[in-house]
Symmetry: C2
Subunit: 484 residues, 2 copies
């Protein structure tokens, strides 16, 4: 019997860590440390014959000694120790084992032989294996941080599986700094037993997962990956970064995850036909995660651009056209409406260049008018939530009373930017009312990287090009869903 | 007589601001405020017939009343007032006037007529005009912050001219958050008189300027731009972002800066032949500014990749191949040397995957070995200066003594990452010794955006793709210089 329902893997009642110790610097210790620090609410059993306690918890010599049934075990000890430990876990009736240990199929024929033996042994007990050579698992619902790096992801609707543990866990960390929240994560390792197809199927059925991210190096051409992807992508967006797209990258992937990289063109076509949203950079992966988590899909590819500065309008328009998005001309009735709220020298066209209009009122008025426009499917608002924090250098010659009141005078959340939060609320309301994405561009400031999550529901990027690339992916996905 | 030596424009002894007031919310007031706050060491003369003092300084009714010769005047008052003010400045013998005022050629034929009249009048006094419709000037040497936005750039070797004031000044602000320092900046506005050709020539001759950035929407096809670019690019890198590359972007550019956008293909070819380093995004502009400021040029296009995590090696290799950079195989003697410093399961190839080796020693040892390799022209070190700060969530179940010592246990500058600063120093030394660029990848962490300038001399990017694109531009520029 094989367990294909991964519920007890992703939401275990309890967990045993084989090779747990208190010696930080060892991975078994660090993972154990991360689980404790993450606050997993179930029982945590360190297993190590050489210790009585680990970080304050009673330690067991073997999984056999644990006084209750165990849902999930992790093995962190060297490769030659793994096979007997699998036996111990099998006898104990543990349904899932994560083999963190490396030095299996990724290192050559000898490792491959051992890996096959480990998997066959596990199967004989009806047990399923994650890995080997994995960095572990994260599960928001169970506060489970069974990972090698000490990362504390934001909580949110994104679930990810990754054929690189390092890259995957870095995405979790990166998410925290840009407002992308995660629900579940698994580092799939060598995929000796459970594969990305299993994780994809599980995420597809998981109601808490709204967006799926994948980092892939190789997919078994005989697997169900494409057919499962086709089913899942009907239900929720599946965004994939494929590593090993090139000859050299493929060579590196082979030595990293043992993956057969396969031809780029074949992947690209097959992925497209299965509704997979393909990105070619880590930046694209995290940007799509952000936008797909929080924005409705555009119904088409027509974009309105509103900007405080003409240059930004120009390069945003360039990026739109280069990415197959339309920037339709502004209809005469909208021109007349906007005439009433902007100074006479505004651009009178799309992009709507507000020509350095200060304060929140002009952009709010423009956004309200443009949100009514049926001729566009999405809005990019450049500088809606901008502003710049003010510094007082040593050499400042300002009068003292100005220096004292500087934060009042120029702080982006004060004076002429004092209604920033209201503008952001307006954007949120308009998105909700109209069901159209509004992407906000907040340029970088000395005090911020421009994408700090004021409120993750307001999708913000620091450059127009990234906003446009994401809108393109969204429009393409919408076209796939509707068969357009 | 026309003054083509822009020294008194970029390094004026004193400055008059016509339309200065104390009413923040008016541009004349904000610019005056920014000049005072920036600490310009020369005399600052507010000119406004309606005021006795402005922000604590004596105010003059007219430039005629200023008691000494004036190098630079700024006009911030509405368009209809500009012509008589030009007369006043001309009579006073002021060599340079920055006309911030908009509503000239960018708004149509009427504005164009007025702009021509303003320029002709200025010329009749031998006076040169910046703008109109400009956001002003920055000059590090004179602490001159005569700009509309309250931006305080980092000081450094980059000078920029921009046909969008908003985009240009945002680059100054962005530079502060990623370690790109500026020497001079000018918002060229409508270029009624002085044009980007004049600024380019001046920056080309300016010994303090090591790297030139340009945001361009249109270049007069009859101008000397290409021939000047050809001369300047022999001496220092000229990195350009061209707005209005597409039909829609070109339409927006016409209404923004009145620029004739011209055909993309013609620009691209002509720029390439003139040694202009072309980027297509603002991100590319700032990334090139960073790398060209601090890195020696690679002598060719061969790259070694060192990584703590296999996935990063794979996608870095992909990005290299997709950008025309070679990732040559590792020679046998280097494999043997690295065998001595890494665990047996390292990749034994380029990318050098250190397989999650902890601590600074392995990467330092690898970098020292690879820096000796004559077969590569540049090194990308993924995760050399990485690490993750540790958080303690509310729900943490760590023992109290661990919680207390957490910053000791996992702080990136402590324990196993305690020698981070030494690793960065090593990178700096190796770059100096070998004259080869080493680009550092520091992935994003919850507490940082991954590109905070530890030390701007160590060029750091948060994604491999950005590092690779920059290396490509550097290799192409080197090939241009050597005729390869």
């Amino acid at each position: 019997m094989s367990n294909t329902d991964l519920h007890r893997l992703f939401e275990p009642r309890n967990i045993a860590v084989i090779g747990a110790s208190s010696t930080l610097g060892k991975w078994g210790a660090i993972i154990f440390f991360n689980i404790l620090n993450g606050g997993f609410p179930g029982a945590i059993y360190p297993v190590n014959p050489g210790r009585k306690t680990v970080m304050g918890l009673d330690c067991y010599a073997s999984v056999a000694d644990i006084p209750e049934p165990v849902d999930l075990a992790m093995i962190t000890t060297p490769a030659p120790t793994v096979l007997p430990l699998i036996d111990a876990c099998g006898v104990k009736g543990i349904p899932f084992v994560i083999v963190v240990t490396s030095n299996f199929s990724e290192t050559g024929p000898e490792g491959t032989r051992l890996e096959r033996e480990v998997v066959a042994r596990a199967r004989s007990y009806g047990m399923r294996i994650v890995g080997p050579n994995t960095m572990g698992i994260f599960s928001s619902r169970r506060d489970l941080h069974a990972l090698m790096p000490p990362v504390m992801p934001l909580r949110g609707p994104v679930s990810m599986f990754s054929q690189s543990g390092n890259l995957g866990t870095q995405m979790l960390a990166w998410g925290s700094s840009v407002g992308v929240g995660f629900e579940k994560f698994i580092s799939s390792g060598n995929e000796g037993d459970l594969t990305c197809v299993d994780y994809l199927r599980y995420y597809g059925d998981d109601p808490a997962t709204k967006v799926i991210l994948a980092y892939l190096e190789g997919v078994d051409p005989h697997s169900d990956f494409l057919s499962v992807a086709r089913e899942v992508s009907r239900k929720k967006p599946l965004v994939a970064l494929k590593g090993g797209r090139t000859r050299v990258g493929g060579r590196a992937a082979a030595s990293h995850s043992g993956a057969m990289a396969g031809s780029t063109d074949i992947y690209r076509g097959a992925f497209r036909q299965s509704g997979v949203i393909q990105v070619s950079t880590t930046q694209g992966l995290i940007d799509c995660a952000k936008a797909f988590s929080h924005c409705p899909l555009p119904r088409g590819n027509r974009v309105a651009i509103v900007t405080r500065g003409g240059g930004w309008g120009v390069i945003t328009a360039d990026a739109c056209e280069e990415n197959g998005l339309e920037v339709p001309p502004l209809p005469e009735d909208l021109v007349r409406k906007i005439d009433k709220v902007l100074p006479p020298y505004w651009s009178r066209s799309n992009p709507v260049d507000m020509v350095a209009a200060l304060g929140p009122e002009p952009i709010e008025a423009c956004l309200k008018i443009i949100a009514q426009w049926d001729g566009v499917d999405a809005i990019i608002a450049a500088g809606a939530a901008g502003g710049m924090a003010m510094q007082v250098p040593e050499r400042s010659r300002l009068p003292e009373d100005y220096k004292k009141n500087l934060s009042q005078l120029f702080n982006p959340r004060q004076t002429h930017f004092r209604k920033l939060d209201e503008t952001l609320e307006l954007i949120k309301d308009l998105v909700k009312q109209k069901g159209k994405p509004i992407i906000n561009l907040a340029f970088r400031r000395p005090d911020s990287d421009g994408e700090a999550p004021h409120d993750p529901a307001i999708v913000t990027f620091p450059t127009p090009e990234r906003a446009v690339r994401v809108l393109r992916r969204m429009a393409e996905y919408q076209a796939y869903l509707t068969g357009a």
